[in-house]
Amino acid sequence: MPARLDIDLDNYKYGFSVPENYVFKARKGLDEQIVREISWIKGEPEWMTRFRLHAYQSFLQKPMPTWGADLSGVRFDDIYYYIKPTEKQGRSWDEVPEEIRNTFERLGIPEAERKFLAGVGAQYESEMVYHNIQKNLAEKGVIFLDMDSGLRQYPDLVREHFGTVIPPEDNKFAALNSAVWSGGSFIYVPPGVHVELPLQAYFRINARDMGQFERTLIIADEGSYVHYVEGCTAPTYSSDSLHSAVVEIIAKRGARVRYTTIQNWSRNVYNLVTKRAVAHQDATVEWVDCNLGSKVTMKYPSIWLMGPGAHGEILSIAFAGKGQVQDAGGKIIHAAPHTSSVVTSKSISKGGGRTVYRGLLKVVAGASGSKSNVVCDALILDEQSASDTVPTIEIEESNVTIGHEATVSKVSEEQLFYLQSRGIDEHRAATLIVSGFIEPVVKELPMEYALEMNRLIDLEMEGSVG
């Protein structure tokens, strides 16, 4: 848990007074006072308080999206916008829903890790691993902290980049996050440094990466490489009904950043996330985005290709089961000449779920020689399920090569028949076909995640054929 913050009240320059008997009491809903309180409790510099307050105004002004999934169930007044970590500890193992505990069991997740994932324990037994990694990273000059610590320890670096990729005015949920953010990761990789091991949020001690309004900022300096992994295949239990993160990535000249997300929120969560990266000259940014959980997800990782030779890649899997809407996709903006991009999307819907691929591919005037290829495939596993594909292609430049393809189909009977003729039962056969379908994305995941992903698909597929 975070150390007691040093707050110098004498240096506090804000126009509100803190009553002597002031005790921060978490209450539902959001107003300017709560935004100020969050900033005050964290002992943030003045510019960040201003940033938050400005963002709050923007949140009030921005309309709810009029497109995409049904968000009428989001109740802004019924949410705790900031809970002290000590209060969060109150949850007991018994409160974790049974199906989630069962899934942990089936995935073979160690006891300690289960508690961490369910938000019951603070962390699992990775202290040694963690320390070794931290030592190794520190030697290379890599900064890997939670966002709050990042702001305290590297205020100038944070101030220079924070909110530059996704300004608070971007959309209603980015504004909300900017006003009330807490937790998330702050990563800085110095020029030329290659971080060999994927950085995983739960290696961080005090990792509050599973927060409701987490905020991640990754700066990859020139020629560096880093792979960041967010989330995990096991279901992440949350009693919060809204998760609204902001992730900003800056890949400087020649840098390469890969950001892998495995989203498996419990089925009560509205997951409304803004993720955007800028890739400068010859830089590469890759989003590997897997969405399995939540009630509703609306998330479109974007890449702005800002310098000549920049390359962007989005690989995604969406699995929508009963009652779920996975409204995901990606956006690529070619804003410089000779930039290239690839989007590969695999969607599966089952048991009444709906997947949506919603994409934007834009080539601005002057980005000549840009190339892009988008391939979206969807599988619908039963009569109750549905799938939409809504790519948007906007081309303002003549010298381009742009291709988009999308297919929606069911599990091929021919393939099923072939596998069954080899003595594989129908369920197993369908699972194999689905695994094969998502293989192009799964193979890009770190090994342990890929294994868990296949087990998870197996679980999701149970009873899906027939």
Partner: protein, 452 residues
């Protein structure tokens, strides 16, 4: 999340005084329309008043807006009967219509500002019970058929301009093909628009009874050079079981015309509609085209092109709705944008929950010919059934310089080489057009536009 996907608000209002309910009454009066027709017009007018002007929050209107229309200046064309029609030769020349009066057509109807200036129907076609005339005549002579079907496929309630057309339609055509009658030669409908600030609302109703088949070509022309003109047209196609209709739209408005048109086929079991679409003219046009495959086994094919240059803006909003079993659709649309032209293509394949065993494919290829041109392509799939095949593909590319270079190396000047390569880009869709008459018309229109 991101704001690129979020629309911004623009508000445009259409001043009510330009068009008023009195005009609805006057139109009906002058045409001595029966009560049921007056009533349809008045209902449509009420809906027109109710429905807000399309705004950019509406996905269909995000990339195209009619903000630059000077609504205040618009007026209906003189609704009194026109002077005697000029000789066909002169008229066609005036309309720049590349039709040859000697050509074999089943019937031909030429209208100028809503008035019939030429009408012919081959006696042997008429003898089979085929009806082909202007819509006003049909209201008088075949009230039962018109009353039953008019405004049923495209209802006035579905949009501001569908409602405006329903209330103020002035001119248009009626085609009726009786059961099992097959007419091979095309019916040609030419809609001419003349004069500064003219507002024209043509309406076409095509009914093919079970087992019938016909080819209908609707050509839109406005050759003069006025400041502006506006047209909101509607075409309704109703096919009985097993019927087959080929409907071609050739839009060659002059570059002062703003337009918003709606074309729809409502299809019964095992009926087939082939759409051949060519959008080449106009200053700014938005066209909704869709087939509703309402009964089992219905199918449609859409083969079309759009081509913008100068400051033109063309928006084609295409959809196929699979709402029955074993339906089939194949769509190929190719577009090119030159100079400062802007093209918007939306293409939706929608398979309803009941649309099992649907098979649907859409392809949209685009060619950008200049640095200042812009093309937006939004193909989309909304799939609510699982036992289906649905795919789409879209490409945007530039002129293949290798091909141009090859032609140049053979002594062909660059400008001509570019023209030839562009022509060949369109060739793959044009050659799918089975009706030679339509294919030739479209090809000639493309070539003449390229040569401009």
């Amino acid at each position: 999340m991101g704001d690129n996907l979020v629309s911004r608000t623009h508000n445009t209002t259409l001043p009510a005084e330009i068009f008023a309910r009195e005009m609805v009454a006057r139109l009906s009066e002058e045409r001595e329309e029966p009560d049921w027709m007056r009533e349809k017009r008045h209902i449509a007018w009420s809906l027109f008043e109710e429905i807000p002007m399309p705004a950019s929050q509406d996905e269909h209107w995000r990339r195209t807006n009619l903000n630059t229309v000077k609504w205040d200046a618009l007026r209906l064309p003189e609704s009194i009967h026109p002077e005697p029609a000029p000789s066909p030769g002169r008229l066609f020349e005036e309309l720049h219509v590349a039709l040859n009066p000697a050509e074999h057509v089943a019937g031909r109807l030429v209208m100028l500002n809503g008035h019939v200036v030429w009408h012919e129907l081959q006696p042997k076609v008429a003898a089979q019970g085929v009806l082909f005339m202007d819509l006003t005549a049909a209201v008088h002579h075949h009230p039962d058929l018109v009353r039953q079907h008019l405004m049923q496929a495209v209802t006035p309630g579905e949009g501001k301009f569908a409602a405006l057309n329903g209330a103020l339609w002035n001119g248009g055509a009626f085609v009726y093909i009786p059961r099992d009658v097959k007419v091979e030669q095309p019916f040609e409908i030419v809609i001419g628009l003349q004069g500064n600030n003219t507002a024209l609302f043509p309406r076409v109703l095509i009914i093919a009874e079970a087992g019938a088949s016909a080819v209908v070509v609707e050509e839109l022309v406005a050759p003069d050079h006025a400041d502006q003109a506006f047209s909101a047209g509607v075409s309704e196609i109703i096919t009985g079981a097993g019927a087959s209709i080929t409907y071609a739209e050739l839009q060659r408005w002059g570059e002062h015309v703003f337009a918003c048109n709606t074309r729809r086929a409502v299809q019964s079991a095992h009926s087939h509609v082939t759409w051949n679409l060519g959008y080449l003219g106009g200053r700014l046009s938005k066209t909704f085209v869709d087939s509703a495959l309402r009964e089992d086994g219905a199918s449609c094919q859409v083969y079309g092109i759009y081509f913008v240059r100068g400051r033109q803006h063309i928006d084609l909003d295409l959809a196929v709705h699979h709402v029955a079993r074993h339906t089939y659709a194949d769509l190929l649309i190719k577009g090119a944008a030159h100079e400062r032209g802007r093209a918007v293509f939306r293409g939706l394949i929608h398979i309803d929950r009941v649309g099992q065993q649907a098979d649907s494919y859409l392809k949209n290829d685009n060619l950008i010919l200049s640095k200042d041109a812009r093309i937006d392509s939004i193909p989309s799939l909304i799939i609510d059934a699982n036992d289906v095949r649905a795919s789409h593909g879209a490409t945007v590319g530039h002129l293949d310089e290798e091909h141009v270079f090859y032609l140049q190396s053979r002594g062909i000047p660059r400008a001509l080489a570019v023209r030839l390569v562009t022509e060949s880009f369109f060739a793959s869709v044009l050659e799918r057009i089975e009706q030679e008459h339509i294919r030739r018309k479209l090809t000639e229109a493309v070539i003449s536009k390229l040569e401009r």
